[in-house]
């Protein structure tokens, strides 16, 4: 359907349809973010012997995040006097927009996908790299030292970890011979890439945590050192935008891992085919999200310099070795 739309001639009806679809996806994503946050709080709560939200919206606190968002919307919008106003305002948008854009190429099922472009994987990685601008700009525009340090940390970290991220996924690309996400999924019919590329998966997963700025790589906003890092001066909905970007990336990254390493919407065994692909996708996706939350509950934070060392001296060489190994295997056995 979308293929046809993409090829049809532009017009208002066309625009309307796209806009509507985009809005639907946004709502889905926002729905995920709402309950993703709730899930994170609940899981963290139970792991930490607490209950988590349990007042707003029944005993599971189902409306807690909704209430939080409403509160953020109603909050006073504070812009520090000494801040660089235009940049300060635009930074959250810059941070958020790419997180939403990357979802366009994500094949949730074989049918539900917005843009089936040939270099989907490359697109994802390239666009997601833009978010760091938002963080650096926000940190710099705040005219706050903690924010600046946080922004700088974010820049250094994102750039450093993007490289092992890309390198680790090269093994998958080598085996598939394509950057198209649909093809990567269909290629996994006889074995997920997590089994064929275990080293690549581990490196990718670690780098993805760093990309997401989550514990143990949450240095840009490390609460205990930099108070809140790059968004320390933000409040109200601008702050919510940063948070939104973070959780949409969680969504996107979990989806990407599902697609690239866990076989996307495919059932693990042929005889389980009767269960729809969407369910399989959701299941795998949820497991990945849970592992992210689990790690957050468990690990302490890295130190900035050790983080860089780890990225450049450990992950990158491993990723390169993985490429070499994969190339060797491919030329010998495939």
């Amino acid at each position: 359907m979308i293929e046809e739309l993409l090829q049809s001639s532009p017009g208002w009806a066309n625009f309307g349809i796209f806009f509507l679809l985009g809005a639907v996806l946004l709502l889905i994503v926002l729905g995920f973010v709402t309950y993703g946050i709730l899930a994170e709080r609940k899981v963290l709560g139970y792991m930490q012997l607490r209950h988590g939200p349990n007042q707003v919206g029944g005993k599971w606190g189902l409306l807690q995040t909704v209430a939080d968002v409403l509160k953020l919307l109603l909050k006073e919008d504070i812009i520090p006097k000494a801040a660089d106003k235009p940049l300060f305002i635009i930074a959250p948008a810059i941070a958020f927009a790419p997180s939403f854009m990357v979802l366009a190429t994500m094949p949730f099922t074989d049918k539900f996908q917005f843009a089936d472009i040939g270099v989907g994987l490359l697109y994802y990685i390239a666009v997601s790299g833009l978010t760091v601008f938002g963080m650096v700009l926000g940190g710099w525009a705040s005219n706050n030292k903690y924010a600046l340090l946080g922004g700088m940390r974010a820049a250094a970290q994102m750039i450093s970890y993007e490289i092992p991220l890309v390198m680790s996924v090269l093994g998958v690309i080598l085996l598939t011979g394509s950057l198209n996400l649909n093809e990567i999924v269909t290629h996994q019919e006889h074995g997920w890439f997590i089994l064929l590329q275990p080293i690549g998966f581990i490196v990718f997963f670690i780098a993805s945590i760093a990309e997401l700025n989550r514990t143990p790589f949450d240095l840009p906003e490390s609460e205990n050192e930099l108070v809140a890092g790059y968004h320390v001066e933000y409040s109200g909905f601008r702050w919510a935008f940063f948070m939104l970007a973070e959780y949409v990336y969680l969504f996107a990254m979990s989806a990407l891992i599902t697609v690239v390493f866990l076989g996307g919407w495919l059932a693990p065994f042929g005889f389980l085919d009767f269960i729809p692909g969407a369910v399989w996708f959701a299941l795998k996706f949820s497991v990945v999200v849970f592992i992210y939350i689990w790690l957050r509950a468990t690990l302490p934070r890295f130190r900035a310099d050790r983080l860089m060392e780890f990225g450049w001296k450990v992950l990158l060489p491993i990723a390169l070795a993985n490429i070499f190994l994969t190339a060797l295997l491919k030329s010998l056995f495939f």
Binding site: Y146, P216, S222, E223, N224, L226, A297, P300, R303, A304
Partner: protein, 366 residues
């Protein structure tokens, strides 16, 4: 050419990891600290001045508020000073109650130190586990004294309240439970690579430095000085119990971390023995005059609080109020070495080092 500039960063007085209203003005080059200057006094309440107009018993609640994580030892140091001056012998049962209360409080205090330290390093869960166990202690002390934090439990000559029915048994049951928990704490954190990376070899100082800077408690023992006033200048009935003074030669944050956990273990040993030997009955308050008047003269006594050597100096002119009261507050002395340790470290290490010194701002500021 790129020109770099030093930046002055104000850490605190409102900051998640300063454990209170403590301010640290650091000059940083990138993230490397070139100079650090602690600024304190935000919590100064003039306890010593206030005490000059108060009777000795009335001062006890003020001591609660110095090191609010370990109020029992603070209570004790004041009572102990007055008792030393007046030559009061504390009844045995009161001594036992005091020791049990102090050691429970020591465990609670070290649990907070442990939990918040890991929290400072970015892991959130251990903090909550520590607080769960601390909560049990706090509840026990609440049953004993009627307060959860500012106990106001001890009096000159003994303690205010006797142990309620079944309380001693509770303490007895707590000891093995806590031992199991300690093992869990080690499993959870002590071997974690990221954690070790943050603390091993960080904030290291030598024995000579530690002594020169008047450090005490785990901060001193982590350099290999085997010194614990409970053992070396026994007060109360500590000479009746067998326990170790854990030390370490490393002198880094990891050593301090391990010492605190080891001290919890030793406190549990003391608790176990104290509970076993707890006298069935007896008075809990010595016969002391209604209005306590320390004899003319002066005294300085010191005991071991969880944070180190807490001391109390009383100059008395024979009246019912002290002429001059002075507390030697371990956090205040321990914090002095901070600027020296921070030089050349980065900001993440700053948090690790500050956390490992384990200060309580109420005590730093008096």
């Amino acid at each position: 050419m790129i020109r770099t500039e030093e930046m002055i960063l104000n850490v605190g007085p409102q900051h998640p990891s300063t454990h209170g209203v403590f301010r640290l003005v650091v000059k940083i080059d990138g993230e490397i600290i070139t100079e650090a200057k602690p600024v304190i006094g935000y919590l100064h309440r003039g306890t010593e001045k206030l005490a000059e107009d108060l009777q000795y018993t009335q001062i006890i609640p003020y001591t609660d508020r110095m090191d609010y994580l370990s109020s029992m030892t603070n209570n004790y140091i004041l009572c102990h000073a007055v008792e030393t001056m007046m030559g009061i012998e504390v009844p045995e049962r009161a001594d036992f109650l005091r020791v049990i209360a102090m050691e429970l409080n020591r465990v609670a205090s070290h649990l907070v130190a442990w939990g918040t330290y890991i929290l400072d390093l970015g892991a959130t869960s251990p903090f909550i586990y520590a607080f769960r166990d601390r909560e049990m202690i706090i509840n026990m002390l609440n049953e004993l004294s009627g307060a959860r934090l500012t106990f106001n439990y001890m009096r000159v000559g003994g303690v205010k309240w006797d142990a309620p029915e079944g309380w001693i048994e509770k303490v007895r049951d707590f000891v093995p439970y806590m031992r199991g928990q300690l093992k869990g704490f080690h499993d959870l954190v002590s071997g974690n690579e990221i954690f070790l990376d943050r603390v091993k070899g960080i904030g290291r100082y030598t024995k000579e430095d530690a002594i020169n800077y008047s450090l005490s408690g785990p901060n001193l023992r982590c350099t290999g000085v085997k010194w614990d006033l409970r053992k070396d200048e026994p007060y109360s009935i500590y000479n009746r119990f067998e326990f170790d003074v854990p030390t370490s030669e490393e002198g880094d944050c990891l050593a301090r971390y391990h010492l605190r956990l080891a001290e919890i273990e030793q406190s549990l040993n003391i608790l176990e023995q104290a509970v076993a030997q707890f006298p069935g009955e007896g008075p809990i308050l010595a016969k002391v005059p209604k209005i306590i008047k320390a004899p003319k003269g002066e005294a300085f006594v010191r005991i071991e609080s969880p944070r180190g050597e807490i001391g109390c100096y009383i100059a008395s002119d024979g009246k019912k109020e002290p002429y001059r009261l002075k507390f030697r507050r371990p956090s205040f002395y321990n914090l002095q070495i901070l600027p020296k340790l921070l030089k050349g470290e980065n900001i993440a290490n700053m948090i690790a080092i500050l956390g490992a010194i384990d200060i309580v701002l109420g005590e730093v500021d008096g």
